[in-house]
Structure formats: structure tokens, C-alpha cells
């Protein structure tokens, strides 16, 4: 059975196994029972990258973006609590 998972991600069965793949470039992320986010390309940015009005979040949050490692289509954008390790990577 094939069905969408969300915008630009889909679930499809290949050789009897359900896989999550990119809806744009078919890049295969992981098995359907795994968290696809761990297989995406993640970057952490200062909140103001989402606009000047986000400055009130600076210091507490970071803007996390997850995109397809192959075609770079953006799959998830959210604020996550700031963490020293993550901040270093941003």
C-alpha cells in the first residue's frame, strides 16, 4: 500500500517492506516504523532567520530545519529549545 506521509514524503512498499521516501526525488529515508527525522539533513539557525519578529525567541530557542539530504526540499521547520551542543553546530 502506498500513501502520503506528509507534504513531500510518502510511504511505499518495496519488497514487502514499508519505506519512507522523498516525494520529490524518491530518496529513501528509512523504514516506515523508524523516525524519518533522524535520516534527514538537519540544521539549526538563529530564530531571526524566520523573520525579525522572532527575536523574542532568541536565547531560548533555535530554528530547526530538516530537509531531504538528496534534493534539499524542506520537510520540517520548528523551534526547538536551545541546547549548548546544538548551539555549537548552528
Amino acid at each position: 500500500m502506498t500513501h502520503p506521509l506528509r507534504e513531500n514524503l510518502a510511504v511505499a512498499v518495496v519488497d514487502g517492506v514499508e519505506w519512507i521516501h522523498c516525494g520529490k526525488c524518491e530518496y529513501r529515508f528509512c523504514r516506515a516504523d523508524q523516525d524519518w527525522r533522524r535520516f534527514g539533513k538537519v540544521r539549526l539557525l538563529p530564530p531571526t532567520k524566520a523573520g525579525g519578529l522572532m527575536s523574542v525567541l532568541s536565547g531560548d530557542y533555535l530554528l530547526r530545519q530538516i530537509c531531504c539530504p538528496s534534493c534539499a526540499v524542506l520537510l520540517d521547520t520548528d523551534f526547538v529549545e536551545e541546547h549548548p551542543d546544538d548551539a555549537g553546530r548552528a
Binding site: H3, G51, V56, Q65, A72, L74
Partner: protein
């Protein structure tokens, strides 16, 4: 083609006619509330509930009431039946009052009136209403008390009294109730409108029994519940099974977490809030029935928007919320701030889980939209320019932007409720607005952007006491104002800011419009849940939430970005950096080639380590 009708015990034509009629009666109750009602909440914000029930207290028809309230109201009637059927009895033309959040209400300000409907001496059903009264005798004016640490600080709490006894209003109880509030006249008006609405329901239902016969009306009523349940279950069954989760934070000084996991199996939905924070000594806690109602509403707005709102649709849902947590508090935890804190957060995470679920279904993904966790709001109280003491709410919250959708943008300042005209506000209250407009740069970016929220600023004007009091309420979490969906960016958070000692009078005296806050100076602070004063040269700035975007902003049609720039909603800079769209010139013009190149560059940048 033959179809298998869902309705079997009555003919489909009678069903169509009577179900429409029952819906109309519940609506007619709402009309009575709105027209007689005293408060802004009833007449403008539609913060009320009016519905009909079966004899056992199951919701039969909820008209246009909000789903959240409909679910809670289902609990209210049952609590009254339990309390009175074996004590003072349930007699024709009785009306009961209840506002205990640990029984049914969301918080004490929601005052329920519940009335049995008899026909030829037999109890046939119930009607119930609630309105959000303007004051409930709590610590703070208006019923939302930031300082409360237990429910006894939050005003009158009544588990059930017989306010109207066999058609006779018990004036002693009525006066006792309104006497405990700061606004007895207005609260009295609210109670009266509820009585009127319940009377409408009674006479209309009795006429219906007379015309169609009580057996037929009861049979159709049963079928209506069956109908909603069957269709909803069928629709749920069509969606792939799965599990989705999300979390949210309630921020009010401290931070509390709300976790939800939604499990969809066959035709059932299980919401599990296990892991959410222990209950707070601040009124952000959401009683269980309201947590349940929030989940119900998330479904009602999407999978069941076209179904009759009744008990049947409740049956496909199960909600687990551990006792002693912010989503199922136990006494004496306070609750008065919960609609915009715990409630907004629970609604937000429940909706988020539902949206993720719907996105997996080809049939239902059109219903997906980015979510909005609500806004800050402010009450104000004091002596107005006409010399009268007042308490009121600034209804700017109607100016939230809505979230982007899978096929189109969210709406700017269009939450569906209504905000007062500035002229109405300035005529009635000692206020002067400095501006009210779309927030620039607020809309969450995306393939389909969120709607931008509104922003307003005001100061006092002609206030006999030189100042008024404000109460800062609403959703205090900055993170979740409008969350982006599937790559879409979050919208700008809602906030309240007080600037003291701003150059307002001076600017006006110089014949300049004080519409740029940055130029007015003064000292500014964000307002948490608190009380505050607005005096001369103080400015209250209110920014409503903007909707989050849907999908990757680099996939947005460049012409749409150009339109947004022309309308002042997106700046040139944001167009470049977020959308990868290059717009030049005094008359904004799209540079197609530069846009293509920039978008390719931005994508490469995303993949860079």
C-alpha cells in the same frame, strides 16, 4: 445504484426534516442568547453554548456551538441528573445552574443553565446553555486571576442549584449569585438570557412533540446519534492506521509540558496525554472533560465538520489523561486561566496530531492546515470617560492570522470572530488607539504562507482617574503562536508589551502620528500573566498571532511573493532570504533569472554541513 441508508428505523425523509428542525431549535437558542446577552463574549465572540440533550443527558443537537463546549456540556447535564434525581427532584420548568470546573465547566466563568424538557408529564430531554459571564467574584476582575494558586481564589463555584423551581425564579438565589460579582447588572443580564434561551428550547421541543409525536421525535433523535457515530467511524477507518505525536509548552513564569500521542486503529482514535507535567499552582490547568473536548473539537473541525454535533461523534474517541497533571487536575488546582493556556496548548497538540494523521490520507489531506495556538489578550477595567466603572475585554484576538493550507494561503486577520471597531471602543472606554494594522513580517513563510495577524497599540485618553487597569491574559507561550506545517515556517508569536513613559502626547502635539513604536521611546517590557496600569504616555502594544506556513517556501510561486511585498506583508529582505525571490525597483518587479539562481543557491546551502 442502491445505497445502504445509515438510518433504518425512520424513513429518510422524516429523518432529514426532523434532524434539520432539531438543529434549528438549538440555533434558535443561540439566537436568544446572542440577542439578550450582555457580554462581549456572548454577543461578539460567540463564547457560549446552547444545545439539546436526550433524557439520559447525551448531547442531541448542539447547533453552531463550539465543539469544545459541546463535549463539556455533555458532562454537565449528567452531573445535574445525578445530583437531583434522587434529592429535590427534576420537575417540569425547573432550571439548574452549575459552574464547577471539576464537574463540567471549563472554568467558573462558564455558567451553565440546564433545564429538563417534559411532555405530558414525562421527562423527554434537556436543554442547556452556558455563557462566559463578565465577572465571577474572583481575585481579579473578569474572572481570570493570574494570582490564584488554588480554585477557591477563583470565585463562585456551584456544583448545582435549582435557580428556577417549576417555572418560578428563585430571586433569593439569583440575587445571591449576582451579588458576589463585580458586575451584578451585567451578570444578571447574562443569567436572564440563559433562562430565555432554555425557555425557547422548551416551547419549541414541546411543539415538535405535539406535531410529530414523542415516539417519532425520540426515534429520530436516536438515529441522529447513530448517524454521526457511524459516519465518523467509517471516515476514520478509511485512514491508514498509525501513531503520531507532538508536544507543547505552557509558559507562564514556569513552563509546563503537554505531550500527546494519537493512535489510530481501525475506526477508533486514542489520545494519550501521559507524560504531561504535574498540575500547577497557577490557573493554567485544564480539567479532564475540557481536555477530552479539545480532542473532540480537533476532529469535529476536520473529519466531522459536516456532521450533526452530538453524542454519537464522541463515541469514536478515547482520551487518557493521568490525574494530577495539567491536563487532568484534581482539586484544589486553579483553572481560571486555562482556556488560553492549558486549553490552547492541548487543542494545539491534539490538532497537530490530527493534522499529521490526515496528511497520510489522500482523501483528507485537503483538510490539513498549519495550526495556531492562539494569542495574548487583555482585559481592561476602570472608570470610563462617562464616569462609570467598567470591566471589558479587548477583542483583538479576532485578528489572528490563520495557518497555511495544503492548497492555499492562510487568511490575514481572519479568525472568524469579530473584533470591535476602534470607534466603538473609543466611544465606550477611555482609550486612544495609535494604530491597528497587519503585522509586517509576521506571516509564517511557506509554499502557502500563513495569514498575518493584527497588531494594535493604545494609550489612555480622557480617563477620569488618569489611568486604567489591565489584566494580561492569553497564550503566553512564545513558541507555538502559529506553528509551521511540513516545512512551513512558524508565524510570529503573539505578545503583549507595555511601554511606559513613551513620547505619545508630545508626538501628537507635534501633529505627527504616533504609529511607530520605536520612535516613541520609553521603557518596554513583555507582559506575562499579570495585572498592570496604563496611564498617560503608557502604550499597550498587542500583537496577535500570525499563521504558520505550509510546505517549503522555496516552492512558493514567485508572483505570490511579489503580491505579498506589494501589500507590505513580506519585506524585500525576507523575500530574498526566506523565499529566494528577488524583487527590485521602485515599482516592485520580479527578477525571474535572479530568483532561479538564488533558489538554487539556497538549496545548496541547506545541504552544506
Amino acid at each position: 445504484m442502491a445505497v445502504n441508508p445509515i438510518v433504518s428505523s425512520v424513513d429518510p425523509i422524516t429523518f432529514e426534516i426532523l434532524s434539520h428542525r432539531l438543529y434549528q431549535i438549538a440555533k434558535e437558542m443561540g439566537t436568544a442568547l446572542e440577542r439578550v446577552g450582555g457580554t462581549v463574549n456572548t454577543t461578539q465572540m460567540h463564547d457560549y453554548m446552547a444545545s439539546l440533550y436526550l433524557a439520559n443527558g447525551d448531547v442531541l443537537s448542539a447547533g453552531d456551538s463550539m465543539g469544545w463546549h459541546v463535549a463539556c456540556a455533555g458532562f454537565a447535564v449528567k452531573r445535574i441528573i445525578e445530583r437531583f434525581e434522587n434529592s429535590s427532584g427534576i420537575n417540569p420548568d425547573d432550571i439548574f445552574l452549575l459552574n464547577d470546573p471539576y464537574l463540567a465547566a471549563i472554568h467558573q466563568s462558564d455558567v451553565y443553565m440546564i433545564s429538563p424538557i417534559h411532555f405530558r408529564g414525562k421527562l423527554m430531554g434537556w436543554s442547556a446553555t452556558f455563557v462566559h459571564v463578565m465577572d465571577i467574584g474572583a481575585m481579579s476582575p473578569g474572572g481570570n486571576s493570574p494570582g490564584a494558586t488554588e480554585i477557591c481564589h477563583e470565585g463562585i463555584r456551584i456544583p448545582g442549584i435549582k435557580l428556577v423551581d417549576r417555572g418560578e425564579l428563585r430571586k433569593d438565589l439569583f440575587d445571591a449569585f449576582i451579588n458576589m460579582t463585580r458586575q451584578p447588572v451585567m451578570v444578571g443580564l447574562d443569567l436572564k438570557c440563559e433562562i430565555a434561551a432554555n425557555n425557547v428550547a422548551k416551547s419549541r421541543m414541546q411543539a415538535l412533540f405535539e406535531q410529530f409525536g414523542p415516539e417519532l421525535v425520540t426515534a429520530v433523535s436516536q438515529e441522529m446519534l447513530h448517524y454521526s457515530e457511524t459516519i465518523l467511524r467509517k471516515r476514520i477507518a478509511e485512514i491508514p492506521d498509525g501513531t503520531w505525536s507532538d508536544s507543547g509548552s505552557i509558559q507562564a513564569g514556569d513552563t509546563w509540558k503537554v505531550y500527546v500521542t494519537l493512535n489510530k486503529k481501525d475506526d477508533r482514535l486514542f489520545f494519550d496525554f501521559t507524560g504531561s507535567s504535574p498540575q500547577a499552582k497557577k490557573g493554567i490547568n485544564l480539567p479532564y472533560h475540557a481536555t477530552f473536548g479539545a480532542c473532540y473539537e480537533a476532529i469535529l473541525c476536520t473529519l466531522a465538520y459536516d456532521l450533526p454535533k452530538n453524542h454519537g461523534a464522541l463515541k469514536a474517541i478515547e482520551v487518557v489523561a493521568p490525574p494530577g497533571t495539567v491536563v487532568n487536575p484534581t482539586p484544589p488546582a486553579p483553572v481560571s486561566l486555562n482556556t488560553t493556556s492549558g486549553g490552547a496548548t492541548v487543542k494545539f497538540v491534539a490538532n497537530s496530531a490530527i493534522m499529521q494523521m490526515l496528511a497520510t490520507s489522500e482523501k483528507w489531506r485537503g483538510e490539513v492546515m498549519a495550526l495556531n495556538a492562539g494569542h495574548r489578550l487583555a482585559r481592561h477595567a476602570g472608570v470610563n470617560q462617562h464616569g462609570k466603572y467598567y470591566v471589558s475585554t479587548l477583542s483583538e484576538g479576532a485578528l489572528d492570522g490563520t495557518g497555511g493550507r495544503s492548497y492555499k494561503d492562510g487568511d490575514d486577520t481572519g479568525r472568524g470572530l469579530s473584533c470591535h471597531n476602534i470607534e466603538w471602543l473609543e466611544a465606550n472606554f477611555p482609550l486612544l488607539y495609535l494604530f491597528r494594522r497587519n503585522t509586517k513580517g509576521g506571516a509564517g513563510a511557506g509554499k502557502f504562507r500563513g495569514g498575518t495577524g493584527g497588531e494594535s497599540a493604545l494609550t489612555v485618553h480622557d480617563a477620569p482617574e488618569g489611568k486604567i487597569k489591565g489584566v494580561a491574559l492569553g497564550v503566553a507561550g512564545l513558541r507555538n503562536s502559529g506553528q509551521g506545517m511540513f516545512g512551513g515556517y512558524p508565524g510570529a508569536p503573539s505578545l503583549l508589551m507595555l511601554t511606559e513613559g513613551a513620547r505619545v502626547e508630545e508626538t501628537i502635539a507635534e501633529n505627527n502620528s504616533p504609529d511607530q513604536l520605536a520612535e516613541l521611546g520609553g521603557t518596554s517590557k513583555l507582559l506575562p500573566y499579570c495585572e498592570f496600569d496604563i496611564g498617560k504616555n503608557d502604550v499597550l502594544y498587542m500583537r496577535m498571532s500570525s499563521g504558520g506556513g505550509y510546505g517549503d517556501p522555496l516552492e512558493r510561486e514567485p508572483e505570490r511573493v511579489l503580491n505579498d511585498v506589494e501589500a507590505g506583508i513580506v519585506s524585500h529582505e525576507e523575500a530574498r532570504e526566506i523565499y529566494g525571490v528577488v524583487i527590485d525597483g521602485a515599482v516592485p518587479t520580479l527578477d525571474v533569472a535572479a530568483t532561479q539562481k538564488l533558489r538554487a543557491d539556497l538549496k545548496r546551502e541547506r545541504l552544506r554541513a
